[in-house]
């Protein structure tokens, strides 16, 4: 069955891009004979647990890479090949460079530079590998287009605006006052994202002005539009503006904490209506 996923579902499966989500759902259907709604719930649970494990394992190696650590302890192409191999059925020594080159040619993995895979792309590859543990080879879709390779996060442009899923690499296109959040903690490996201490999720403002030290592209009125506690003064001072922006991120995140901490699909997605087109094609999972 071909799935056309309701866009609001996509951020729950971060850092998986849409074609990987669809492929894993189809694999679940075939291998476990699960109906689409069951497959969705099973995959949601698997992603939730294994995403946490993926971040737990990758983070020290990525941090070492970001901080110029020793090569043996740093995230790299070689590290990824070895790590993927360690999770493969039968525990092969390492995935071959040839296989990685093939995946790259098919858009299944992106690179930041030679020898350095994109962090989120590598995490998605690894996550798919540990979710589809029985598959020797077919744990990935056949290919992904350039515009399909990104993972998705939640965004909200204003307190009374609807929640809109958005591709993580395109956040700079959103209005500066847009609040963004994701259950994918590895987002913090990219500039702009910060995570909650309780590790439930990460958040940011959509646009950043400066990566180091981090400064969001915000205006005083952007901060005031989200601030629920009355007035804030001296927002024309850049330091106070940026500090307030960070404080506000934590306040907004706190309000969404329950949603993530419950560990279950949110209510609006729990009851999934499966709309199937004639002939079994174009199956559509839609949140009620």
């Amino acid at each position: 069955m071909n799935y056309n996923l309701e866009p609001l579902l996509l951020p729950w499966f971060a850092p998986l891009p849409e074609p990987m989500i669809v492929h894993l759902l189809q694999r679940l259907e075939r291998t476990r004979r699960a109906v689409p709604a069951t497959a969705l719930q099973v995959l949601f649970n698997q992603v939730r647990d294994k995403r946490a494990a993926t971040y737990f394992y990758m983070d020290p190696f990525v941090q070492a890479r970001l901080n110029g650590g020793p090569a043996a302890l740093s995230f790299s192409t070689g590290w990824l090949l070895k790590t993927l191999g360690a999770q493969a059925p039968g525990k092969k020594e390492a995935v071959s460079q040839k296989t990685l080159s093939y995946w790259r040619s098919k858009g299944l993995v992106r690179f930041q530079q030679h020898g350095l895979p994109d962090y989120a792309s590598a995490a998605a590859l690894y996550l798919a590998r540990i979710i589809d543990v029985d598959a020797e080879r077919h744990f990935l879709p056949s290919s992904m287009g350039v515009d399909e390779q990104d993972w998705w996060c939640f965004t909200q442009a204003a307190p009374d605006a609807p929640v809109v899923p958005w591709q993580a690499s395109l956040l700079q296109e959103l209005p500066s006052s847009t609040f963004c959040w994701t259950p994918w903690l590895g987002s913090v490996w990219e500039p702009g994202w910060i995570k909650r201490q309780d590790q439930t999720f990460a958040m940011r403002w959509a646009r950043i002005e400066q990566k180091q030290p981090l400064a969001y592209h915000l205006w005083p009125e952007d901060v005031l539009s989200w601030y629920p506690f009355g007035t804030l003064s001296h927002l024309d001072d850049p330091d106070i503006l940026q500090s307030s922006a960070l404080l506000l991120l934590h306040h907004l995140a706190r309000r969404r904490k329950e949603l993530f901490a419950s560990g279950a699909l949110p209510e609006d997605i729990q009851s999934v209506e499966v709309v199937l087109a004639k002939g079994g094609k174009n199956g559509r999972l839609r949140a009620r």
Partner: protein
């Protein structure tokens, strides 16, 4: 078919990502719920050199290293990926005073005698044969300096109001007893013997502290324990089926699902009983 009966073989693959993550969550839960890294001596007086045996991904060792740059910590574990992860974490957390190496702690320890102020080990019963405990404790005595402390923490029994959870648990104790890693099918029986082993090895001032960790729905340790339990029974399925051929795959699945369901009920209550035994050389 896996050879679980080998001496000192771990019944799970410790290099599997999910198992590494589970053990880390479990370690955090124990440290937090039992009053910190060293509640028996919270000021770490006289402790400068620490050995963590079966250190896993270094959750405990790195917390100790984080207390003071003056404390040197060495961690040892049999699982290569665990050690690689521990080394990367030490680098990421800037703990130059923590070092990690691959090693089998059921073999003679690769350290000189009279070397450490504190030797720590937690939850070894998953792989340690009952016959290996006394030689292991004697090795700990050897590497400790005079006056140094051995600190062993083991769980003894989990009691809950979930029939399925208890059933899985007692089946686990029985399986470990069959493999020679527990003394009975009713409870492992390790903690009751630890003080005697320490005294027999030559430790003095041996003391035990019993800890009842509340893992009831909504308790502080609940989320971590539930994750630990849920992940463990999933990873243990092949082991359970091999050890208990009287169960079909479907029956085993149903039992696991029932346990998960009952543990997610707001009325779920339970306690995990652990014992820390400390002795001085």
């Amino acid at each position: 078919m896996a050879d679980y009966a080998r001496d000192n073989a771990y019944v799970l693959d410790p290099d599997l990502l999910e198992e590494m993550h589970r053990l880390d969550i479990q370690g955090q839960m124990l440290t937090r719920s039992m009053g910190g890294v060293l509640p028996e001596r919270p000021d770490f007086a006289g402790i400068k050199k620490v050995l963590d045996l079966g250190c896993g991904s270094a959750e405990w060792a790195l917390q100790v290293a984080g207390r003071s740059a003056d404390i040197q910590v060495v961690g040892i574990d049999k699982a290569p990926r665990m050690i690689e992860l521990a080394q990367a974490r030490a680098y990421a957390e800037k703990r130059a005073n923590a070092r990690f190496r691959i090693g089998d702690i059921t073999e003679p320890l690769p350290f000189l005698a009279d070397n450490f102020d504190l030797v720590n080990a937690r939850l070894l019963r998953g792989f340690m044969a009952t016959s290996a405990w006394l030689p292991f404790i004697q090795e700990c005595l050897r590497v400790l300096r005079p006056g140094g402390l051995l600190r062993l923490t083991e769980d003894e029994i989990l009691l809950t109001n979930s029939l399925a959870c208890d059933h899985l648990n007692f089946r686990g104790y029985k399986n470990l007893a069959t493999l020679g890693k527990a003394f009975s099918g009713h409870h492992p029986g390790i903690t009751t013997r630890m003080p005697g082993w320490l005294k027999e090895a030559g430790f003095q001032q041996v003391q035990s502290r019993v800890f009842a960790m509340d893992i009831s729905y909504g308790a502080d340790a609940y989320e971590s324990f539930f994750f630990d339990f849920k992940t463990a029974i999933e990873l243990l399925k092949p082991f359970s089926l091999q050890m208990n051929p009287e169960y079909t795959v479907e029956e085993n699945e149903a039992l696991c699902e029932q346990a998960i369901e009952e543990m997610q009920d707001p009325g779920f209550s339970g306690k995990l009983y652990l014992v820390t035994t400390v002795g001085e050389k």
